[in-house]
Amino acid sequence: VSLPPLDRLPNPIRPAFTEGSREGSVIVNIGPSHPATHGTIQIVAELSGEHVLRTDVHCGYLHRGFEKECESHTWHNLIPYVDRLNYCSALINDFAYCEAVEKLMGIEITPRCRYLRTLLAEYSRIADHLTCIAAALMELGAMTAFLYLVTIRDYIYEHLAELTGARVTYSYGRIGGLARDLPDGWLVRLEEILEQMDTFTGRVHGLVDRNRIFIDRTRDVGVISTSDAVNWGFTGPILRSTGAPRDLRKDTPYLAYAELEFEVPVGIKGDNYDRYYVRMREIDESAHMIRQLVDLLPPGPLCVDDRRCTFPAKELVYTEIESLINHFKLVMEGPQVPPGEVYSAHEGANGELGFYLVSVGGGVPWKVHCRSPSFVHMGGVHRMLDGYQLADIVPTFGSVNMIGGECDR
């Protein structure tokens, strides 16, 4: 095999540095497909021995033109696309996007929809945090903990499949409502899963919290201060792990969060251990919220009675001409959204998930922009990698929970 000289090989990236900054340092390329990292990310690191001097983080390997594609589909048809941003907690994306469109249209969702969305958002957050912690622990060799947590995640996926018809990408949100109501017995199974989850997360606490190996690998590793975290745009569990109780669910309550009782767990110093612990505590808080929401969930309609966005009942479509035309217009032209722009943000599982929408009227968006937490975090993650060991990249990166789908869009 004859290859051109190394510097002539086409390279999709241009590293920020190709020369070592000091005698004896080497430059190592990690990723974009590396067995020790999950997520398609490329890290070019300058090492002195095992010591990381500086890093240059590249993302974009999962870029699929989400924002461009959005400009040629109706508002409703985007829902499957936003599902695929953060595919660990797709429902949160659904609801954040739908709420942004509803704000533009001036729609207030029904009480049942509001509580159910809140419940499902918290359920998704649990699944997301379980995935993150499980993967991070597995990368440190804690296979048992991984299996415990992923077992529960799989129960949640199966349970959500019963409701939505899909395990991961649900397409369950609707502008002005939700796709369908809860099947019989869904809430009973929900409580069963939450109980099992308490048992299993309890076991993981027992296995990991005071485990010497785990503490050595995570305590004082990947430390970031609150001021640094804010300066580099960190939000969500990473910001909270630095000790700042910043949570959009508390600070700018949306959906039904203002009526719920919950705490915002924070860490002490913003290291990997704190990020693990904050996520574990958030799982407990989410479960606490879900139990309150089950009691609060009112009966009533799920979708608003607004012909601009809600589809007419199928029997009407087949029996009266107005509903048939309504259905046709909604499918062919999409919901008519008045001109304007909106920025609407939800507390995603990883941080502030914002949608900036621009409408010029009509059924197709002029612009859809997603402010995704993972992307912003990748811009600042070098602050947590530089100065530590090469092997620390793996747990630190795991604790950041980069989701390629929303990072690269």
Binding site: V1, S2, L3, P4, L9, P10, N11, P12, I13, R14, A16, H58, C59, G60, H63, G65, E67, K68, E69, E71, S72, K103, L104, D228, V230, N231, W232, G233, T235, A244, R246, D251, T252, G340, E341, V342, Y343, S344, A345, E352, G354, Y356, V358, W366, K367, H369, R371, F375, V376, M378, G379, G380, R383, D408, R409
Partner: protein, 160 residues
């Protein structure tokens, strides 16, 4: 609570930001691009908008100047957001960079540069980020066809 902050912003930026209106809970400021750094500095240092959320652009091909550049900021003390918007023409799509004020601007400006070709004066790292090295054009501009194919990185010539 937000109203008091918005009132302070209006007072402080009087004359620089037109008539700021609250739109869906966000205070929207329209500014001249020459006053960007001054406005953002005031927002960060005096008015408490310490979290830089986002920068993107909106393309209006029929309009002159053609692009809106849009920033969002959040105050982690007052829990309110502002939107700063300015217009730049196709011939000179340049605005000042915010990397001196917010570390996170570095990455997000790279993305905006990728997608719209907005040049952030003073950001010396505008390498392609979501796109790859050698990608031609700016895909989120309205005149970039969705189906357009690009000269992909050529396959290596491997002789056995």
């Amino acid at each position: 609570m937000g109203d008091a902050v918005f009132e302070r912003v209006r007072e402080r930026l009087e004359g620089m930001a037109g008539t700021p209106a609250v739109s869906h809970g966000v205070l929207a400021l329209e500014i001249e691009r020459s006053s960007l750094l001054e406005v953002v500095q005031a927002l960060r240092d005096e008015l408490g908008f310490d979290l830089f959320l986002d920068v993107t652009a909106v393309d209006w091909p029929e309009r002159e100047p053609r692009f809106d550049v849009v920033w969002h900021f959040y105050s982690t003390r007052e829990f309110v957001r502002v939107r700063v918007k300015t217009r730049v023409p196709l011939g000179d799509p340049t605005v000042d960079t915010l990397v001196t004020l917010y570390g996170s601007a570095r990455y997000m400006e790279r993305e905006c540069h990728d997608m719209y070709g907005i040049v952030f004066r003073g950001n010396d790292d505008l390498r392609p980020l979501l796109l790859y090295e050698g990608f031609q054009g700016h895909p989120l501009r309205k005149d970039y066809p969705k189906q357009k194919e690009q000269p992909l990185v050529p396959y290596r010539d491997v002789k056995s």
